[in-house]
């Protein structure tokens, strides 16, 4: 109750409560905002953005080339979008960056200002680079040398990895029209009960097995 009391008090103090005659339409308008807001959240599949599921990133078809190139890469087995594209130093930073990036993406997409070739901006590049190092640290730095050589770590990690590894993982050619047709679900994200035997074959084999048993 305390919350409502203070809110009401604030609204009255700043004369934000409409006069009696106006209250009804005002209430309706505010309700419309809330209702539409909820509807927009549902429509945009907003809850999915809290997860680490790569499918969330292809809610917008703009990311399809990135998604498809990733599903055809060796990173697909070990890293999701978020493993590389959001910071992992602490959970607040992770969601702050995710929200910032996500709102930027959403705005550009809504304004139809998306370029034919999307590129990571500077803040994003820093995040990606630190994530490369997060997993590949032992491949780029040597623990013994870090202990003995002053700037060994900087020397080994201050160049961006993709200066050389240009194909990783999205390929060299990136554009909205660089990939083929649809999104192919891959086994890694298939339901647990997915089977490699087609239904027709399964049922025909079951029929034969029951026949065998009844004749035994």
């Amino acid at each position: 109750m305390g919350f409502w009391q203070t809110t009401k008090r604030t609204l009255f103090r700043w004369k934000l409560i409409p006069p009696h005659r106006w209250r009804r339409p005002a209430i309706m308008l505010v309700a419309a905002i809330v209702g539409l807001g909820i509807y927009v959240l549902k429509l945009s599949n907003a809850a999915s953005y809290l997860s680490d599921d790569p499918q969330a990133c292809v809610n917008c078809h703009l990311m399809t080339p990135q998604y498809i190139t990733w599903t055809h890469s060796s990173h697909r087995e070990v890293a999701h979008c978020n493993d590389c594209h959001v910071p992992h130093d602490n959970v607040f930073n992770k969601y702050f960056f995710k929200a910032k990036d996500g709102l930027y993406h959403a705005s550009i997409f809504t304004l139809r200002k998306e370029p034919e070739v999307i590129r990571a901006l500077a803040p994003s590049q820093a995040v990606i680079q630190s994530n490369c190092i997060r997993c590949h640290q032992d491949q780029v730095t040597d623990a013994r040398m870090t202990a003995t050589i002053a700037n060994h770590k900087e020397m080994r990690t201050d160049r961006t990895c993709w200066e050389c590894h240009r194909d990783v993982p999205h390929g060299k050619i990136k554009s909205l029209s660089s990939v083929g047709y649809q999104i192919e679900p891959i086994k890694e994200y298939a339901p647990k009960d997915m089977e490699v035997i087609p239904a027709w074959l399964k049922s025909s084999m079951q029929k034969q097995n029951t026949q065998n048993e009844s004749n035994d």
């Binding site: 409409p18 809504t110 490699v196 087609p198 074959l201």
Partner: protein, 497 residues
């Protein structure tokens, strides 16, 4: 005044929110068409050209399996008559259709035309005629799972090869390995699922990497036609003999326990076994399999085109594509890698050629012993030796890639076959001497295929004439009927972009 402003701002916010909601809907609709495939691929669509509308890169590279220009030192993607290269084979397979014609394998795209043209399938002028059962179609076409679904698996195995000529017209293709809804790899041949069950394994538990080999293992394996499977009377039920293991000895004892024979050799009267391309079994014993490499890793390496990485579906010898297949792991000179392969193949071929000739001689010597009045009792151990030696020789050579896939196990198979056959020939020499023939048995000319075919009593001219008539009169009818059936299939176009 302030209230008015507030009211207006609120109204504008509602308006903007509604616009945003509309925009999201709009872009969602766009997504439905942005990366839209062209056609809806039906349940088991046997025509690759339809799949090709959605997957042009995979389809076009797969169509390159038509290409017959590649030759390596010992193998080829084109036409090579193996009976001409090694005429002794005619003696080894006397009484069996392989003595009529046997060629090096071509690409997948030739599967259906090759099985029609090969003399082994004869010239059936009417449905129900001819030497071969319908089971021979099993590995030739995506029409097979379609038929199995329509008429039932056992029913499919219970006909004659000539019964299904009009039904099976598309060579091996997309639907054999892919689930049309998800494009995931799938198993469409019951024999592999049943073989896994027999071994007490679950094929559904296979990882993606294993599936990249198992789809090949649906066909590139040793098999036999089980004629007395329970409840499958009259069917020639395709079965893989893996119950006790996949190595040459386990399969040999499996067949011995069943007292199974593919045919009885007319000269030595031996109950023979025919090994058919145990590629997956031998590959599994090799070092590449041990390191977790799959068939597709070398035979279908990744390729990049227009920025998209995809699996190259031009399935063939990795020797024609060393840079994309071997170089992924081996950073050596191309020539050195190829030399390594040829060294293994040369060494094993030397041994297997020698073994082949010894087996041919043994058959003829056994024939001589029968002629001189040997008893069944005396011949029994000799026949067993011939059966086992030829089984082992065949197991090693019928898998064309074995010398590379698993050089050590393959050479040990050849060695064991050689010692078995030499032991049998020793026994034969003693037996022949007892029967009063203490000198070398007269051999036919092992370098003349035609003469050997006449020697085992084949009328090749008739075989060829029957085949020519069949190709001229029957096959066009099959094709016409098949095309007519396919014209009736409905195709669901999604977009015409």
């Amino acid at each position: 005044m302030k209230n008015w402003i507030l009211f207006l701002i609120t109204a504008v916010v509602v308006f903007l929110l509604a616009m945003l909601a509309y925009s999201i809907m709009d872009r969602k609709n766009e997504a439905k068409y942005a990366y839209q495939p062209k056609v809806e691929i039906g349940n088991i669509e046997p025509r690759d050209s339809i799949w090709g509308l959605n997957y042009p890169r995979q389809y076009q590279s797969y169509m390159k399996t038509k290409d017959t220009s590649f030759h390596s030192m010992y193998n080829t993607s084109g036409h090579v008559a193996v009976l001409e290269e090694d005429p002794e084979l005619v003696i080894l397979w006397a009484g069996y259709a392989f003595s009529k014609e046997y060629n090096q394998p071509k690409g997948h795209a030739h599967a259906v035309e090759d099985i029609r043209q090969i003399l082994r399938t004869g010239g059936p002028m009417e449905p129900g005629e001819g030497p071969m059962p319908s089971t021979c179609w099993t590995c030739k076409s995506p029409d097979v799972p379609r038929l199995m679904k329509e008429i039932g698996v056992t029913e499919f195995y219970s006909k004659k090869w000539s019964d299904l000529g009009a039904e099976v017209i598309n060579p091996i293709g997309c639907a054999d390995c892919h689930n049309p809804e998800t494009m995931n790899l799938t198993i469409t041949r019951p024999a592999l699922v049943e073989a896994f069950e027999a071994m007490g394994k679950d094929v559904n538990a296979a990882s993606h990497q294993q599936m990249r080999s198992l789809v090949c293992a649906q066909c590139h394996v040793e098999y036999y036609f089980d004629k007395d499977a329970p409840d499958k009377k009259g069917a020639q039920y395709l079965t893989f003999p893996w119950k006790d293991g996949m190595d040459v000895e386990s399969v040999e004892s499996y067949y011995d326990k069943l007292d199974f024979a593919d045919w009885v050799h007319p000269i030595s009267k031996t109950r023979m076994l025919k090994a058919q391309h145990p590629d997956y079994e031998l590959f599994s014993l090799g070092v590449h399999a041990k390191r977790g490499v799959s068939c597709a890793d070398c035979h279908m390496p990744y390729k990049t085109e227009g920025g998209q990485k995809f699996t190259d579906h031009h399935i063939g010898s990795p020797l024609s594509n060393v840079e994309n297949s071997c170089f992924v792991c081996h950073r050596e000179k191309k020539e050195d890698l190829i030399t390594d392969v040829y060294d293994r193949q040369r060494t094993i071929k030397k041994g297997s050629q020698n073994l082949m000739r010894l087996i041919a001689k043994a058959h003829i010597e056994a024939g001589k012993a029968w002629e001189l009045g040997a008893s069944e009792e005396q011949m029994k151990p000799i026949q067993e030796g011939i059966r086992h030696a030829q089984w082992r020789w065949d197991y090693a050579v019928a898998s064309h890639g074995a010398a590379f896939h698993a050089p050590l196990p393959t050479s040990s198979i050849v060695t064991s076959g050689t010692s078995i056959i030499e032991e049998s020939r020793l026994q034969l020499a003693r037996l022949l001497a007892d029967l009063g023939h203490n000198k070398p048995v007269e051999m036919p000319d092992f370098n003349d295929t035609e003469a050997l075919q006449a020697y085992i009593g084949l009328d090749m001219e008739k075989e060829r004439a029957d085949k020519a008539q069949f190709l001229q009169e029957v096959v066009p009818k099959w094709l016409e009927e098949g095309k007519k059936r396919e014209a009736g299939y409905s195709i669901e176009m999604i977009s015409n972009e």
